[in-house]
Protein backbone atom coordinates (compact mmCIF):
# COMPACT_ATOMS: atom_id res chain seq x y z
CA UNK A 1 0.00 0.00 0.00
CA UNK A 2 2.66 2.47 1.02
CA UNK A 3 4.79 1.62 -1.99
CA UNK A 4 1.90 2.10 -4.41
CA UNK A 5 1.17 5.49 -3.00
CA UNK A 6 4.78 6.46 -3.46
CA UNK A 7 4.71 5.32 -7.09
CA UNK A 8 1.60 7.37 -7.67
CA UNK A 9 3.24 10.37 -6.18
CA UNK A 10 6.31 9.88 -8.35
CA UNK A 11 4.12 9.50 -11.40
CA UNK A 12 2.31 12.69 -10.55
CA UNK A 13 5.63 14.44 -10.19
CA UNK A 14 6.80 13.16 -13.59
CA UNK A 15 3.58 14.34 -15.17
CA UNK A 16 3.96 17.77 -13.64
CA UNK A 17 7.56 18.06 -14.76
CA UNK A 18 6.71 16.97 -18.28
CA UNK A 19 3.71 19.25 -18.40
CA UNK A 20 5.81 22.35 -17.87
CA UNK A 21 8.47 21.25 -20.34
CA UNK A 22 5.98 20.34 -23.08
CA UNK A 23 4.75 23.92 -22.99
CA UNK A 24 7.92 24.91 -24.82
CA UNK A 25 8.38 28.67 -24.67
CA UNK A 26 5.00 29.10 -22.99
CA UNK A 27 1.54 29.95 -24.20
CA UNK A 28 2.34 33.45 -25.38
CA UNK A 29 5.25 32.33 -27.52
CA UNK A 30 3.13 29.49 -28.93
CA UNK A 31 0.39 31.93 -29.90
CA UNK A 32 2.93 34.18 -31.56
CA UNK A 33 4.27 31.22 -33.55
CA UNK A 34 0.75 30.27 -34.67
CA UNK A 35 -0.11 33.84 -35.61
CA UNK A 36 2.53 33.65 -38.34
CA UNK A 37 0.83 30.61 -39.87
CA UNK A 38 3.32 28.17 -38.40
CA UNK A 39 2.74 25.04 -36.37
CA UNK A 40 4.73 24.39 -33.22
CA UNK A 41 7.62 21.93 -33.22
CA UNK A 42 5.64 19.06 -31.63
CA UNK A 43 2.58 19.68 -33.78
CA UNK A 44 4.75 19.42 -36.87
CA UNK A 45 6.19 16.10 -35.79
CA UNK A 46 2.75 14.72 -34.94
CA UNK A 47 1.34 15.82 -38.31
CA UNK A 48 4.22 14.26 -40.20
CA UNK A 49 4.51 10.93 -38.41
CA UNK A 50 2.08 8.02 -38.27
CA UNK A 51 -0.50 8.52 -35.58
CA UNK A 52 0.70 7.52 -32.14
CA UNK A 53 4.15 6.52 -33.39
CA UNK A 54 6.17 9.43 -32.02
CA UNK A 55 8.37 8.80 -29.01
CA UNK A 56 10.24 11.77 -27.61
CA UNK A 57 13.62 11.62 -25.88
CA UNK A 58 15.86 14.04 -24.01
CA UNK A 59 12.97 16.17 -22.84
CA UNK A 60 14.82 16.90 -19.60
CA UNK A 61 17.99 18.19 -21.23
CA UNK A 62 19.13 21.51 -19.80
CA UNK A 63 21.24 24.05 -21.56
CA UNK A 64 24.83 24.56 -20.50
CA UNK A 65 25.17 28.34 -20.92
CA UNK A 66 26.83 30.00 -17.94
CA UNK A 67 27.66 33.53 -19.07
CA UNK A 68 25.44 36.58 -19.46
CA UNK A 69 23.00 35.38 -16.76
CA UNK A 70 22.07 32.37 -18.90
CA UNK A 71 22.55 30.11 -15.87
CA UNK A 72 19.40 31.62 -14.36
CA UNK A 73 17.26 30.82 -17.39
CA UNK A 74 15.38 27.61 -18.03
CA UNK A 75 15.01 26.61 -21.67
CA UNK A 76 12.61 23.65 -21.97
CA UNK A 77 14.21 20.86 -24.01
CA UNK A 78 16.86 23.42 -24.92
CA UNK A 79 14.81 24.51 -27.92
CA UNK A 80 14.68 21.26 -29.86
CA UNK A 81 12.38 18.22 -29.86
CA UNK A 82 13.96 14.88 -30.77
CA UNK A 83 12.61 11.40 -31.11
CA UNK A 84 11.74 8.41 -33.24
CA UNK A 85 8.60 7.29 -35.00
CA UNK A 86 7.29 5.97 -38.30
CA UNK A 87 6.13 7.38 -41.65
CA UNK A 88 3.99 5.00 -43.76
CA UNK A 89 5.27 2.38 -41.30
CA UNK A 90 8.93 3.28 -42.03
CA UNK A 91 11.04 3.83 -38.92
CA UNK A 92 12.67 7.25 -38.88
CA UNK A 93 14.56 9.53 -36.52
CA UNK A 94 13.45 13.13 -36.31
CA UNK A 95 14.28 16.43 -34.67
CA UNK A 96 12.39 19.72 -34.78
CA UNK A 97 13.74 23.01 -33.55
CA UNK A 98 11.33 24.88 -31.29
CA UNK A 99 11.29 28.56 -32.17
CA UNK A 100 9.28 29.37 -29.06
CA UNK A 101 12.26 28.50 -26.86
CA UNK A 102 14.97 31.14 -27.17
CA UNK A 103 14.15 31.51 -30.89
CA UNK A 104 15.17 27.91 -31.52
CA UNK A 105 18.75 29.07 -31.12
CA UNK A 106 21.42 26.42 -31.23
CA UNK A 107 23.46 26.00 -28.07
CA UNK A 108 25.78 23.21 -27.03
CA UNK A 109 23.16 20.88 -25.49
CA UNK A 110 20.66 21.65 -28.27
CA UNK A 111 23.27 20.45 -30.75
CA UNK A 112 24.08 17.47 -28.54
CA UNK A 113 20.45 16.37 -28.69
CA UNK A 114 20.45 16.63 -32.48
CA UNK A 115 23.73 14.74 -32.73
CA UNK A 116 22.40 11.99 -30.47
CA UNK A 117 19.33 11.40 -32.62
CA UNK A 118 21.52 11.52 -35.75
CA UNK A 119 23.80 8.90 -34.21
CA UNK A 120 20.73 6.77 -33.53
CA UNK A 121 19.68 7.11 -37.15
CA UNK A 122 23.10 5.96 -38.31
CA UNK A 123 23.23 3.04 -35.86
CA UNK A 124 19.73 1.86 -36.69
CA UNK A 125 20.21 2.65 -40.40
CA UNK A 126 16.99 4.62 -40.68
CA UNK A 127 16.32 8.01 -42.33
CA UNK A 128 16.80 11.24 -40.40
CA UNK A 129 14.46 14.21 -40.76
CA UNK A 130 15.46 17.64 -39.46
CA UNK A 131 12.86 20.39 -39.11
CA UNK A 132 14.70 23.71 -39.04
CA UNK A 133 13.18 26.76 -37.36
CA UNK A 134 15.92 28.66 -35.63
CA UNK A 135 17.36 32.12 -35.24
CA UNK A 136 20.85 30.69 -35.53
CA UNK A 137 23.72 30.20 -33.11
CA UNK A 138 23.03 31.05 -29.45
CA UNK A 139 25.49 33.92 -29.19
CA UNK A 140 25.66 33.69 -25.37
CA UNK A 141 27.23 30.25 -25.66
CA UNK A 142 29.99 31.49 -27.93
CA UNK A 143 32.26 28.95 -29.48
CA UNK A 144 30.23 26.09 -28.00
CA UNK A 145 27.43 26.96 -30.41
CA UNK A 146 29.86 26.78 -33.31
CA UNK A 147 31.12 23.45 -32.02
CA UNK A 148 27.53 22.24 -32.12
CA UNK A 149 27.11 23.15 -35.78
CA UNK A 150 30.41 21.53 -36.66
CA UNK A 151 29.39 18.27 -35.00
CA UNK A 152 26.13 18.27 -36.96
CA UNK A 153 27.83 18.98 -40.31
CA UNK A 154 30.31 16.17 -39.69
CA UNK A 155 27.48 13.73 -39.00
CA UNK A 156 25.55 14.93 -42.07
CA UNK A 157 28.60 14.20 -44.19
CA UNK A 158 29.21 10.77 -42.67
CA UNK A 159 25.55 9.85 -43.08
CA UNK A 160 25.50 11.01 -46.71
CA UNK A 161 24.76 8.07 -48.97
CA UNK A 162 24.16 5.75 -45.99
CA UNK A 163 20.72 6.88 -44.82
CA UNK A 164 18.34 9.30 -46.54
CA UNK A 165 18.59 12.73 -44.91
CA UNK A 166 15.68 15.14 -45.19
CA UNK A 167 15.72 18.80 -44.19
CA UNK A 168 12.52 20.72 -43.74
CA UNK A 169 12.88 24.49 -43.50
CA UNK A 170 9.91 25.83 -41.55
CA UNK A 171 11.14 29.18 -40.39
CA UNK A 172 14.39 31.04 -40.48
CA UNK A 173 17.57 29.07 -41.11
CA UNK A 174 20.40 31.55 -41.23
CA UNK A 175 24.14 31.74 -41.00
CA UNK A 176 26.01 28.50 -40.32
CA UNK A 177 22.70 26.70 -39.82
CA UNK A 178 22.09 26.56 -43.58
CA UNK A 179 24.91 24.13 -44.14
CA UNK A 180 23.24 21.22 -42.46
CA UNK A 181 20.34 21.27 -44.97
CA UNK A 182 22.83 21.88 -47.77
CA UNK A 183 24.60 18.63 -46.86
CA UNK A 184 21.40 16.59 -46.77
CA UNK A 185 19.66 14.86 -49.67
CA UNK A 186 16.34 16.68 -49.95
CA UNK A 187 15.40 20.14 -48.74
CA UNK A 188 11.71 21.03 -48.35
CA UNK A 189 10.55 24.65 -48.18
CA UNK A 190 7.19 26.33 -47.64
CA UNK A 191 6.13 29.59 -49.27
CA UNK A 192 6.34 32.66 -47.01
CA UNK A 193 7.60 30.56 -44.07
CA UNK A 194 11.04 29.31 -45.09
CA UNK A 195 13.96 31.74 -45.07
CA UNK A 196 17.52 30.68 -45.75
CA UNK A 197 20.61 32.80 -46.11
CA UNK A 198 24.20 33.01 -44.96
CA UNK A 199 23.98 36.74 -44.22
CA UNK A 200 20.64 38.44 -43.74
CA UNK A 201 19.32 41.67 -45.26
CA UNK A 202 20.68 43.78 -42.36
CA UNK A 203 24.26 42.70 -42.90
CA UNK A 204 23.93 43.07 -46.66
CA UNK A 205 22.68 46.61 -46.17
CA UNK A 206 25.45 47.55 -43.76
CA UNK A 207 28.28 46.05 -45.75
CA UNK A 208 27.15 46.55 -49.33
CA UNK A 209 24.45 49.20 -49.18
CA UNK A 210 21.97 47.00 -51.02
CA UNK A 211 18.43 46.80 -49.75
CA UNK A 212 16.51 43.59 -50.09
CA UNK A 213 13.70 41.86 -48.22
CA UNK A 214 14.15 38.50 -46.50
CA UNK A 215 11.71 36.99 -48.96
CA UNK A 216 13.59 38.24 -52.04
CA UNK A 217 16.94 37.28 -50.56
CA UNK A 218 16.24 33.78 -49.32
CA UNK A 219 12.54 32.99 -49.40
CA UNK A 220 11.13 29.62 -50.40
CA UNK A 221 10.55 30.65 -53.99
CA UNK A 222 14.09 31.93 -54.42
CA UNK A 223 15.57 28.63 -53.27
CA UNK A 224 13.12 26.50 -55.23
CA UNK A 225 13.45 28.46 -58.49
CA UNK A 226 16.71 30.37 -58.57
CA UNK A 227 19.37 28.98 -56.25
CA UNK A 228 18.28 25.34 -56.43
CA UNK A 229 18.95 24.84 -52.71
CA UNK A 230 15.43 23.54 -52.18
CA UNK A 231 14.11 20.39 -53.85
CA UNK A 232 10.44 20.58 -52.91
CA UNK A 233 8.24 23.67 -52.68
CA UNK A 234 4.89 23.73 -50.90
CA UNK A 235 2.25 26.38 -50.28
CA UNK A 236 1.59 25.26 -46.71
CA UNK A 237 3.17 23.16 -43.98
CA UNK A 238 0.52 20.46 -44.40
CA UNK A 239 1.23 20.19 -48.14
CA UNK A 240 4.92 19.96 -47.30
CA UNK A 241 4.28 16.99 -44.96
CA UNK A 242 2.29 15.26 -47.69
CA UNK A 243 5.24 15.70 -50.06
CA UNK A 244 7.60 14.13 -47.51
CA UNK A 245 5.25 11.18 -47.02
CA UNK A 246 5.05 10.73 -50.80
CA UNK A 247 8.84 10.79 -51.11
CA UNK A 248 9.15 8.08 -48.47
CA UNK A 249 7.10 5.70 -50.59
CA UNK A 250 9.83 5.80 -53.25
CA UNK A 251 13.09 5.62 -51.31
CA UNK A 252 14.61 2.87 -49.15
CA UNK A 253 15.48 3.14 -45.43
CA UNK A 254 19.18 2.90 -46.06
CA UNK A 255 21.78 2.03 -48.67
CA UNK A 256 21.72 -1.71 -47.99
CA UNK A 257 18.00 -2.02 -48.69
CA UNK A 258 16.02 -1.65 -51.86
CA UNK A 259 13.01 0.61 -52.04
CA UNK A 260 9.80 -1.14 -51.13
CA UNK A 261 8.07 -2.87 -54.03
CA UNK A 262 4.47 -1.92 -54.65
CA UNK A 263 1.73 -3.78 -56.47
CA UNK A 264 1.91 -3.03 -60.19
CA UNK A 265 -0.61 -0.54 -61.53
CA UNK A 266 -1.01 0.10 -65.23
CA UNK A 267 -0.41 3.61 -66.57
CA UNK A 268 -3.52 5.68 -67.22
CA UNK A 269 -3.46 5.02 -70.93
CA UNK A 270 -6.53 7.12 -71.61
CA UNK A 271 -5.03 10.29 -70.15
CA UNK A 272 -1.53 9.88 -71.53
CA UNK A 273 -1.39 8.85 -75.16
CA UNK A 274 2.11 8.97 -76.61
CA UNK A 275 0.72 9.63 -80.10
CA UNK A 276 -0.93 12.80 -78.87
CA UNK A 277 1.87 13.98 -76.58
CA UNK A 278 4.82 13.38 -78.83
CA UNK A 279 5.37 15.48 -81.99
CA UNK A 280 7.58 13.79 -84.58
CA UNK A 281 8.68 17.17 -85.96
CA UNK A 282 11.98 17.64 -84.14
CA UNK A 283 11.42 21.39 -83.92
CA UNK A 284 8.19 21.06 -81.91
CA UNK A 285 8.38 21.15 -78.12
CA UNK A 286 6.36 18.93 -75.75
CA UNK A 287 6.23 18.10 -72.06
CA UNK A 288 8.50 15.12 -71.43
CA UNK A 289 6.85 14.57 -68.04
CA UNK A 290 3.78 13.34 -69.90
CA UNK A 291 5.93 10.73 -71.66
CA UNK A 292 7.19 9.56 -68.26
CA UNK A 293 3.62 9.43 -66.95
CA UNK A 294 2.50 7.45 -69.98
CA UNK A 295 5.01 4.76 -69.00
CA UNK A 296 4.98 4.89 -65.18
CA UNK A 297 2.78 2.80 -62.89
CA UNK A 298 -0.54 4.55 -62.31
CA UNK A 299 1.00 7.48 -64.24
CA UNK A 300 2.50 8.66 -60.94
CA UNK A 301 5.63 10.78 -61.08
CA UNK A 302 7.13 12.59 -58.10
CA UNK A 303 9.24 15.39 -59.49
CA UNK A 304 12.29 16.59 -57.58
CA UNK A 305 13.55 20.15 -58.15
CA UNK A 306 10.37 20.88 -60.09
CA UNK A 307 10.92 24.63 -60.31
CA UNK A 308 14.70 24.75 -60.71
CA UNK A 309 16.58 24.29 -64.02
CA UNK A 310 13.39 23.12 -65.67
CA UNK A 311 15.24 22.18 -68.86
CA UNK A 312 15.95 18.85 -67.22
CA UNK A 313 13.37 16.81 -65.34
CA UNK A 314 14.34 14.48 -62.51
CA UNK A 315 12.14 12.49 -60.18
CA UNK A 316 10.83 9.17 -58.97
CA UNK A 317 8.33 6.85 -60.59
CA UNK A 318 7.50 3.16 -60.39
CA UNK A 319 7.67 0.66 -63.20
CA UNK A 320 6.10 -2.73 -62.55
CA UNK A 321 6.09 -1.87 -58.83
CA UNK A 322 9.78 -0.96 -58.62
CA UNK A 323 11.03 2.52 -57.84
CA UNK A 324 13.05 4.08 -60.65
CA UNK A 325 14.81 7.42 -60.87
CA UNK A 326 13.98 9.27 -64.09
CA UNK A 327 16.27 11.79 -65.74
CA UNK A 328 14.74 13.44 -68.80
CA UNK A 329 15.54 16.38 -71.04
CA UNK A 330 12.62 18.80 -71.19
CA UNK A 331 12.15 20.06 -74.80
CA UNK A 332 9.46 22.44 -73.54
CA UNK A 333 11.99 24.45 -71.55
CA UNK A 334 14.96 26.07 -73.30
CA UNK A 335 14.77 23.35 -75.96
CA UNK A 336 15.96 20.87 -73.31
CA UNK A 337 19.59 21.98 -73.41
CA UNK A 338 22.14 20.98 -70.83
CA UNK A 339 23.59 23.98 -69.00
CA UNK A 340 25.35 24.62 -65.70
CA UNK A 341 22.28 24.33 -63.50
CA UNK A 342 20.61 21.42 -65.25
CA UNK A 343 23.84 19.38 -65.21
CA UNK A 344 24.28 20.08 -61.54
CA UNK A 345 20.68 19.16 -60.78
CA UNK A 346 20.79 15.90 -62.72
CA UNK A 347 24.19 14.84 -61.39
CA UNK A 348 23.08 15.19 -57.80
CA UNK A 349 19.92 13.19 -58.42
CA UNK A 350 21.92 10.44 -60.15
CA UNK A 351 24.27 10.25 -57.15
CA UNK A 352 21.29 9.82 -54.82
CA UNK A 353 19.78 7.04 -56.92
CA UNK A 354 23.11 5.25 -57.23
CA UNK A 355 23.74 5.47 -53.49
CA UNK A 356 20.32 4.04 -52.66
CA UNK A 357 20.06 1.27 -55.26
CA UNK A 358 17.44 2.97 -57.39
CA UNK A 359 17.69 2.09 -61.11
CA UNK A 360 18.11 5.03 -63.47
CA UNK A 361 15.99 5.55 -66.55
CA UNK A 362 17.06 8.30 -68.93
CA UNK A 363 14.74 9.86 -71.48
CA UNK A 364 16.82 11.70 -74.01
CA UNK A 365 15.83 14.52 -76.34
CA UNK A 366 18.28 17.40 -76.38
CA UNK A 367 20.04 19.58 -78.91
CA UNK A 368 23.26 19.62 -76.84
CA UNK A 369 24.96 21.87 -74.34
CA UNK A 370 23.88 25.53 -74.27
CA UNK A 371 26.33 27.78 -76.10
CA UNK A 372 27.11 31.29 -74.86
CA UNK A 373 29.73 33.41 -73.15
CA UNK A 374 27.86 33.46 -69.85
CA UNK A 375 27.61 29.67 -69.81
CA UNK A 376 31.28 29.23 -70.63
CA UNK A 377 32.28 31.75 -67.99
CA UNK A 378 29.94 30.24 -65.45
CA UNK A 379 31.83 26.97 -65.89
CA UNK A 380 29.61 24.86 -68.12
CA UNK A 381 32.66 22.68 -68.72
CA UNK A 382 33.09 21.73 -65.10
CA UNK A 383 29.36 21.68 -64.31
CA UNK A 384 28.59 19.72 -67.46
CA UNK A 385 31.27 17.22 -66.48
CA UNK A 386 29.31 16.37 -63.33
CA UNK A 387 26.60 14.61 -65.30
CA UNK A 388 29.21 12.54 -67.19
CA UNK A 389 30.90 11.66 -63.92
CA UNK A 390 27.68 10.74 -62.14
CA UNK A 391 26.34 8.52 -64.93
CA UNK A 392 29.73 6.84 -65.46
CA UNK A 393 30.22 6.12 -61.79
CA UNK A 394 26.69 4.82 -61.19
CA UNK A 395 26.54 1.04 -60.92
CA UNK A 396 22.76 0.70 -60.54
CA UNK A 397 20.83 -0.54 -63.58
CA UNK A 398 21.03 2.18 -66.22
CA UNK A 399 18.54 2.21 -69.07
CA UNK A 400 18.35 4.92 -71.70
CA UNK A 401 15.51 5.69 -74.09
CA UNK A 402 16.41 8.07 -76.93
CA UNK A 403 13.17 9.75 -77.93
CA UNK A 404 14.30 12.24 -80.54
CA UNK A 405 17.41 14.40 -80.60
CA UNK A 406 20.71 13.08 -79.32
CA UNK A 407 23.41 15.38 -80.58
CA UNK A 408 27.07 15.89 -79.79
CA UNK A 409 28.27 16.04 -76.20
CA UNK A 410 24.70 15.85 -75.01
CA UNK A 411 24.31 12.42 -76.59
CA UNK A 412 27.33 11.12 -74.70
CA UNK A 413 26.30 12.75 -71.42
CA UNK A 414 22.76 11.36 -71.28
CA UNK A 415 23.80 7.90 -70.13
CA UNK A 416 24.95 6.64 -73.49
CA UNK A 417 26.24 3.16 -74.23
CA UNK A 418 29.74 4.59 -73.76
CA UNK A 419 29.04 5.59 -70.15
CA UNK A 420 28.01 1.97 -69.65
CA UNK A 421 24.26 2.13 -69.89
CA UNK A 422 22.99 -1.44 -69.63
CA UNK A 423 20.43 -0.94 -72.36
CA UNK A 424 19.97 1.87 -74.87
CA UNK A 425 16.66 1.88 -76.68
CA UNK A 426 15.83 4.34 -79.43
CA UNK A 427 12.51 5.32 -80.88
CA UNK A 428 12.41 5.39 -84.71
CA UNK A 429 12.17 9.19 -84.39
CA UNK A 430 15.64 9.33 -82.80
CA UNK A 431 18.35 11.46 -84.40
CA UNK A 432 21.75 10.41 -83.14
CA UNK A 433 24.60 12.35 -84.70
CA UNK A 434 27.65 14.39 -83.93
CA UNK A 435 25.81 17.64 -84.56
CA UNK A 436 22.63 19.02 -86.12
CA UNK A 437 22.20 18.64 -89.90
CA UNK A 438 22.53 22.40 -90.53
CA UNK A 439 25.82 22.74 -88.72
CA UNK A 440 27.24 19.46 -89.95
CA UNK A 441 26.40 20.09 -93.62
CA UNK A 442 28.05 23.51 -93.49
CA UNK A 443 31.29 21.95 -92.29
CA UNK A 444 31.41 18.71 -94.24
CA UNK A 445 30.24 20.15 -97.57
CA UNK A 446 31.88 23.56 -97.19
CA UNK A 447 33.78 23.33 -100.48
CA UNK A 448 30.76 22.07 -102.46
CA UNK A 449 28.47 24.75 -101.03
CA UNK A 450 30.87 27.63 -101.67
CA UNK A 451 31.77 26.33 -105.12
CA UNK A 452 28.17 25.90 -106.26
CA UNK A 453 26.46 28.31 -108.57
CA UNK A 454 23.62 28.71 -106.07
CA UNK A 455 25.23 28.15 -102.65
CA UNK A 456 21.91 28.43 -100.79
CA UNK A 457 20.23 25.75 -102.87
CA UNK A 458 23.31 23.56 -102.54
CA UNK A 459 23.33 24.09 -98.78
CA UNK A 460 19.71 23.04 -98.52
CA UNK A 461 20.36 19.99 -100.65
CA UNK A 462 23.35 18.96 -98.56
CA UNK A 463 21.46 19.52 -95.29
CA UNK A 464 18.72 17.25 -96.58
CA UNK A 465 21.30 14.69 -97.64
CA UNK A 466 22.90 14.72 -94.21
CA UNK A 467 19.52 14.53 -92.51
CA UNK A 468 18.47 11.45 -94.44
CA UNK A 469 21.80 9.74 -93.96
CA UNK A 470 22.57 10.48 -90.33
CA UNK A 471 19.60 12.00 -88.47
CA UNK A 472 18.20 8.61 -87.49
CA UNK A 473 18.86 5.84 -84.97
CA UNK A 474 20.17 3.32 -87.50
CA UNK A 475 23.75 4.55 -87.86
CA UNK A 476 24.27 4.33 -84.09
CA UNK A 477 22.44 0.98 -84.09
CA UNK A 478 24.74 -0.34 -86.81
CA UNK A 479 27.68 0.10 -84.43
CA UNK A 480 25.80 -1.43 -81.52
CA UNK A 481 25.55 1.87 -79.60
CA UNK A 482 21.79 1.43 -79.61
CA UNK A 483 20.64 -2.00 -78.46
CA UNK A 484 17.20 -1.91 -80.02
CA UNK A 485 15.12 0.48 -82.06
CA UNK A 486 11.65 0.13 -80.57
CA UNK A 487 8.15 1.41 -81.16
CA UNK A 488 7.13 4.08 -78.66
CA UNK A 489 4.21 1.92 -77.54
CA UNK A 490 6.62 -0.90 -76.61
CA UNK A 491 8.69 1.27 -74.27
CA UNK A 492 7.11 0.14 -71.02
CA UNK A 493 7.37 -3.51 -72.01
CA UNK A 494 11.07 -3.11 -72.82
CA UNK A 495 11.73 -1.20 -69.60
CA UNK A 496 10.00 -3.81 -67.45
CA UNK A 497 12.04 -6.55 -69.05
CA UNK A 498 15.27 -4.57 -68.76
CA UNK A 499 14.60 -3.91 -65.07
CA UNK A 500 13.95 -7.61 -64.51
CA UNK A 501 17.14 -8.56 -66.34
CA UNK A 502 19.30 -6.11 -64.38
CA UNK A 503 17.79 -6.89 -60.99
CA UNK A 504 20.91 -8.67 -59.73
CA UNK A 505 23.40 -6.62 -61.73
CA UNK A 506 26.87 -6.52 -60.18
CA UNK A 507 29.47 -4.05 -61.38
CA UNK A 508 32.52 -3.26 -59.29
CA UNK A 509 34.22 0.06 -59.90
CA UNK A 510 37.99 0.00 -59.28
CA UNK A 511 38.93 0.27 -55.60
CA UNK A 512 39.45 3.85 -54.52
CA UNK A 513 39.13 5.89 -51.38
CA UNK A 514 36.79 8.09 -53.37
CA UNK A 515 36.83 9.68 -56.79
CA UNK A 516 37.39 13.37 -57.42
CA UNK A 517 34.17 14.53 -59.05
CA UNK A 518 34.20 17.94 -60.79
CA UNK A 519 32.56 19.81 -57.89
Amino acid sequence: MVENMSINRKTQELKARMQSLLQGGGEKAMEKQKATGKLTARERILELLDEGSFHEYDLFIQHSGKDFNMDKKILPGDGVVTGTGTINGYPICIYAQDFTVAGGSLGYMHAKKICKIMDHAMKFKVPIIGINDSGGARIQEGVNALAGYGEIFFRNTMASGVIPQISVILGPCAGGAVYSPALTDFVFVVDKISKMFITGPDVIKTVLGEEISQEDLGGARVHAEVSGNAHFFAESEMECFEQIKALFTYIPWNNTKKAERFAMKRPKAKDYKINQIFPTDPAKPYDVRLIIKSIADNSDFLEVHELFAKNIVVGFARINGDTVGCVANQPMEMAGVLDCNSSDKAARFILFCDAFQIPLITFEDLPGYLPGVDQEHAGVIRHGAKILYAFSEATVPKITVILRKAYGGGYIAMCSNHLKADFVFAWPTAEIAVMGPEGAANIIFKAEILGAEDPDAMRKEKIQEYKEKFANPYVAASYGYVDAVIQPSETRKYLIHALDMTRSKVVENPWKKHGIPPF
Binding site: G209, E210, E211, I212, D216, P282, A283, K284, P285, P331, M332, M334, A335, G336, V337, P367, G368, L370, P371, G372, D374, K405, Y407, G436, E438
Partner: protein
Protein backbone atom coordinates in the same frame (compact mmCIF):
# COMPACT_ATOMS: atom_id res chain seq x y z
CA UNK B 1 34.42 58.99 -67.36
CA UNK B 2 35.77 58.88 -63.88
CA UNK B 3 39.51 58.94 -63.33
CA UNK B 4 39.14 56.75 -60.27
CA UNK B 5 40.36 53.28 -61.07
CA UNK B 6 37.48 50.84 -60.96
CA UNK B 7 37.63 48.73 -57.84
CA UNK B 8 38.17 45.16 -58.89
CA UNK B 9 35.46 44.03 -56.49
CA UNK B 10 32.79 46.31 -57.90
CA UNK B 11 33.92 45.23 -61.32
CA UNK B 12 33.16 41.61 -60.63
CA UNK B 13 30.24 42.00 -58.29
CA UNK B 14 26.91 42.63 -59.95
CA UNK B 15 24.33 44.62 -58.08
CA UNK B 16 21.10 42.87 -57.29
CA UNK B 17 18.25 43.86 -59.56
CA UNK B 18 14.74 42.75 -58.87
CA UNK B 19 13.42 40.97 -61.94
CA UNK B 20 10.02 42.12 -63.13
CA UNK B 21 7.93 38.97 -62.90
CA UNK B 22 6.09 39.45 -66.20
CA UNK B 23 9.01 40.21 -68.48
CA UNK B 24 9.68 37.50 -71.01
CA UNK B 25 13.33 37.25 -72.03
CA UNK B 26 15.15 35.52 -74.83
CA UNK B 27 17.12 32.78 -73.06
CA UNK B 28 19.29 32.48 -76.14
CA UNK B 29 19.64 34.42 -79.44
CA UNK B 30 17.17 33.24 -82.05
CA UNK B 31 14.48 34.09 -84.55
CA UNK B 32 10.88 34.97 -83.71
CA UNK B 33 8.58 32.68 -85.67
CA UNK B 34 5.09 33.58 -84.58
CA UNK B 35 3.37 35.85 -82.07
CA UNK B 36 0.07 34.69 -80.62
CA UNK B 37 -0.98 37.70 -78.56
CA UNK B 38 -1.89 41.35 -79.03
CA UNK B 39 -1.26 44.35 -76.84
CA UNK B 40 -3.87 44.72 -74.14
CA UNK B 41 -4.88 41.06 -74.34
CA UNK B 42 -5.49 39.29 -71.05
CA UNK B 43 -3.34 36.19 -70.51
CA UNK B 44 -3.06 33.53 -67.85
CA UNK B 45 0.12 32.06 -66.43
CA UNK B 46 1.32 29.37 -68.85
CA UNK B 47 -0.46 30.76 -71.91
CA UNK B 48 1.83 30.59 -74.97
CA UNK B 49 2.88 34.08 -76.15
CA UNK B 50 5.21 33.47 -79.10
CA UNK B 51 7.65 31.02 -80.61
CA UNK B 52 11.39 31.60 -80.69
CA UNK B 53 13.40 29.37 -82.98
CA UNK B 54 16.72 28.52 -81.34
CA UNK B 55 18.67 25.38 -80.49
CA UNK B 56 16.95 23.36 -83.23
CA UNK B 57 13.60 24.05 -81.62
CA UNK B 58 10.55 26.26 -82.06
CA UNK B 59 10.50 27.18 -78.39
CA UNK B 60 7.12 28.21 -77.11
CA UNK B 61 7.53 30.95 -74.55
CA UNK B 62 4.68 31.25 -72.11
CA UNK B 63 3.45 33.92 -69.76
CA UNK B 64 5.02 33.65 -66.32
CA UNK B 65 2.09 35.42 -64.62
CA UNK B 66 -1.61 36.25 -64.97
CA UNK B 67 -1.85 39.69 -66.51
CA UNK B 68 -2.30 41.93 -69.51
CA UNK B 69 0.06 42.13 -72.46
CA UNK B 70 1.95 45.44 -72.22
CA UNK B 71 4.74 46.09 -74.67
CA UNK B 72 5.42 43.72 -77.54
CA UNK B 73 8.96 44.45 -78.63
CA UNK B 74 9.15 41.88 -81.43
CA UNK B 75 7.71 40.99 -84.77
CA UNK B 76 7.72 37.75 -86.71
CA UNK B 77 10.99 37.06 -88.46
CA UNK B 78 12.98 39.31 -86.13
CA UNK B 79 16.35 38.11 -84.84
CA UNK B 80 16.66 38.73 -81.11
CA UNK B 81 19.61 38.82 -78.74
CA UNK B 82 20.02 36.95 -75.52
CA UNK B 83 18.33 38.62 -72.52
CA UNK B 84 16.29 41.02 -74.68
CA UNK B 85 12.92 41.71 -73.12
CA UNK B 86 10.58 40.46 -75.82
CA UNK B 87 7.17 40.83 -74.26
CA UNK B 88 6.13 42.58 -71.08
CA UNK B 89 3.18 41.11 -69.25
CA UNK B 90 1.74 43.52 -66.73
CA UNK B 91 0.48 41.83 -63.58
CA UNK B 92 -3.24 42.06 -62.84
CA UNK B 93 -4.07 45.09 -60.74
CA UNK B 94 -1.20 47.20 -62.04
CA UNK B 95 -2.19 50.20 -64.13
CA UNK B 96 -0.68 50.45 -67.58
CA UNK B 97 1.09 53.80 -67.40
CA UNK B 98 3.22 54.31 -70.43
CA UNK B 99 4.16 52.16 -73.40
CA UNK B 100 7.52 50.79 -72.37
CA UNK B 101 10.21 50.96 -75.00
CA UNK B 102 12.29 47.95 -75.94
CA UNK B 103 15.11 47.85 -73.50
CA UNK B 104 17.63 45.14 -72.85
CA UNK B 105 17.16 43.77 -69.37
CA UNK B 106 20.66 44.70 -68.30
CA UNK B 107 19.96 48.42 -68.64
CA UNK B 108 16.93 48.39 -66.41
CA UNK B 109 19.06 48.20 -63.31
CA UNK B 110 18.76 50.75 -60.57
CA UNK B 111 21.94 51.34 -58.74
CA UNK B 112 22.08 52.40 -55.15
CA UNK B 113 25.49 53.98 -55.27
CA UNK B 114 25.66 56.80 -57.79
CA UNK B 115 29.41 56.59 -58.10
CA UNK B 116 29.11 53.01 -59.19
CA UNK B 117 26.58 53.78 -61.86
CA UNK B 118 29.10 55.31 -64.19
CA UNK B 119 31.47 52.41 -63.81
CA UNK B 120 28.75 49.87 -64.09
CA UNK B 121 27.57 51.16 -67.41
CA UNK B 122 30.95 50.49 -68.88
CA UNK B 123 31.09 46.97 -67.65
CA UNK B 124 27.60 46.08 -68.77
CA UNK B 125 26.41 45.95 -72.28
Amino acid sequence: MSDIKPDIRTHYRQLYVKVEPGQIYAFIPGTIIDIFVKKGQKVKKGDPLFTLHAMKMDNELCSTIDGTIGAINIKAGQIVNKNDVLIDVIPLGVKIEKPSTPKPAADKKETVDKKETAEKKETKK
